[in-house]
Amino acid sequence: MSTTTAMRPEPAATASSAPPMLEAVDVTRMFMVSQGFMKAKKPLHAVNGVTLSIRQGEVVGLVGESGCGKTTLARMLLGLMPPSSGTLKIDGQPLAGMKRRAVARLVQPVFQDPYSSLNPRKSVGSIIGLPLRVQGGVTSEDEKKRVHEMMELVGLARRLFDNYPSQLSGGQRQRVAIARALINRPRMVICDEPTSALDVSVQSQILNLLQDLRRELGLTYLLISHNLAVVEHMADRVAVMYLGRLVEQTDTDTLFRNPRHPYTEALLKSVLTPEPGLGVPDTQLGAAYPNPLNMPSGCRFHPRCARRFGPCDTIVPRPLTSAAGMVECHLYDDDVKKEAAA
């Protein structure tokens, strides 16, 4: 990695003392979904009361199945969509009322598919430089210089400046996407499945690059991925999302060593590592993913839960916070257990 004009102070320590980069308090996003011709629309709570805090310099992994609301949450954090209720703060400033351009200076996305997230009719140099032109105030020489610096930083050869995305490999395209996200030196990057569309040998290159950039630029990441091995490798802390809510949130080591929520357990079980002889695990996640328009009563995970008991289908679990992190499950709620036993 080459020297770059460091515009930010040294990376803040990931210690728990670091100030929060991102704070979401009880964030909800509701959509009205059409049920068909002439039928009344129904509310769908894609994100339903999420509280999440990410400290400066931290990497937080967000995991969950498709349809659980990960991407909706990411869109709100990027300021692309206002929450229906709740508050969002980035770098201490409330997101509500902030201009799109100001949000874009602080937080940037890297998407899953580098084949569809790059404009095929623009050259690499023009794609990476676009955020500079949007923010304004740069001369074209300046822009070119900074694009060159950024290309070097993410490991793209200078000669690719005038190439088009179709002439690049998947890994190179994802590097372009990363360069574009970083050119305005944001404080935080939201990576939505950054390596899912890539081959394993390319995936490891991109993961290494993300690690290097984080150290070098003091970035904060929210890493959304369904690949738990990747999350384990990258993240300091993990939040598990199910049907619009965070059901468990704790540091990565604790989560992988001692998962508490039955859903987290099932997710961890389904990680297939290249270790022969272990066989295919039985996750015991019976029923299919529920229809979010027709939420299960009580704990929304109870129809698929192998460890459900008395109150699970009637009482909504509350978030229980302790030194071991946050979990939303009756199994760890002594009050509910006592009442069920009585």
Binding site: E65, S66, S169, G170, D199, V200, S201, Q203, S204, Q205, L207, N208, Q211, H226, N227, L228, A229, V230, E232, H233, M234, T252, F256, A266, L267, K269, S270, V271, L272, T273, P274, E275, P276, G277, L278, G279, V280, P281, D282, T283, L285, A288, Y289
Partner: protein, 338 residues
């Protein structure tokens, strides 16, 4: 009846491209016995999917396939009339594709599509076909099968659709199932369930299963034997324990180093990488196809084509002239002549 279900010997697939001929598959050989799961693994463009399509005779129109031997249950399936092939396809051998939404017909009900294979290949009354469809849907874990038969593909979730595809492949009780990335489009939790189901069904119906995937985790867990492909060639083959426990080809080893394993790789540590890019398969590549990216390349690697050779006394084969030497030194030699 013999236990050998599929024999593939020296399979070549080529496609004409504007710049010449793309030699996508170059001399691939493997076999599948009854009750075995053979996994073909490799990165995009290595020729694994074309190998599957070539076996099913479903190559694109301009694609050409040549093979020393290609036979199902001892009968050749190359150079036979299309009528014979379509009797076999969907009957004795069936295929499961990656994206269940695009391989199911949106205009027909699930029931219709399930029964079709049986009605076409066996002279059975529709009621009998329906009975089997219900039975198999229940077997693959679909509840309320009776009602599902009347539904259309868009009314089902991705996991359910893939279950329907599996049930469809099983309708005629085939001897061989070829599954091309059957779980890639699915969530990890659903992936585990589908693989679990496939493994169970394969034991129950005593079939041969060819599973094509890029996911080494899937392969390690489900394969009886593994075929690692790189740039159109088989570079290593053996049992899952041989290939994953003691990989002998630098490419296989490199791939395994790229993958983080919870509890084994240290957090934040650099992962292994394979520098460079897959060579173009247009025209002929002299010598080892991996030479351009291999840290152990010497002059001899590119001088002559490298054969697939077995380790003494085993079926663990590798296409690398330095395999023994590298194995002895624990892949420590770094005297690459760059």
């Amino acid at each position: 009846m013999s236990d050998r279900i599929l024999t593939v010997e020296g399979l070549e697939v080529s496609l004409p491209v504007p710049t010449g001929t793309l030699n996508a598959v170059q001399g691939v050989s493997f076999h599948v016995d009854r009750g075995e799961t053979v996994c073909i693994v490799g990165e995009s463009g290595c020729g694994k999917s074309l190998t599957a399509l070539a076996i099913m005779d479903l190559l694109p129109k301009r694609g050409r396939r040549v093979a020393r031997e290609l036979s199902l249950l001892g009968d050749p399936i190359v150079g036979v009339p299309e009528a014979t092939m379509s009797d076999l396809r969907g009957n004795r051998m069936a295929m499961i594709f990656q994206e269940p939404m695009t391989s199911l017909n949106p205009a027909y009900t699930i029931g219709n599509q399930l029964e079709e294979a049986l009605l076409r290949h066996r002279k059975v009354p529709r009621a009998k076909a329906r009975e089997r469809a219900v039975h198999l849907l229940e077997r693959v874990g679909i509840t309320a099968a009776d009602q599902r038969l009347r539904q259309y593909p868009h009314q089902l979730s991705g996991g359910l659709r893939q279950r329907v595809m599996i049930a469809m492949a099983l309708m005629t009780g085939p001897d061989l199932i070829i599954a091309d990335e059957p779980t890639t489009a699915l969530d990890v939790t659903i992936q585990a369930q589908i693989l679990h189901l496939l493994a169970e069904l394969q034991r129950e119906f005593h079939m041969g299963l060819v599973l094509i995937t890029h996911d080494l985790g899937v392969v390690a867990r489900i394969a009886t034997r593994v075929v690692v492909m790189y740039a159109g060639q088989v570079v290593e083959t053996g049992t899952a324990t041989e290939v994953f426990g003691a990989p002998r080809h630098p490419y296989t080893r490199g791939l395994l180093d790229c993958i983080p394993i919870p509890g084994k790789t240290k957090r934040g540590e650099r992962l292994g990488t394979i520098p460079g890019m897959v060579p173009s398969l247009v025209g002929h590549i002299q010598g080892c196809h991996f030479a351009g990216r291999c840290p152990f390349t010497i002059d001899a690697c590119t001088e002559a084509d490298v054969p697939l050779t077995a380790a003494a006394g085993s079926a663990h084969e590798v296409r690398c002239i330095r395999a023994d030497e590298l194995m002895r030194s624990g892949f420590q030699i770094v005297e690459s002549v760059a």
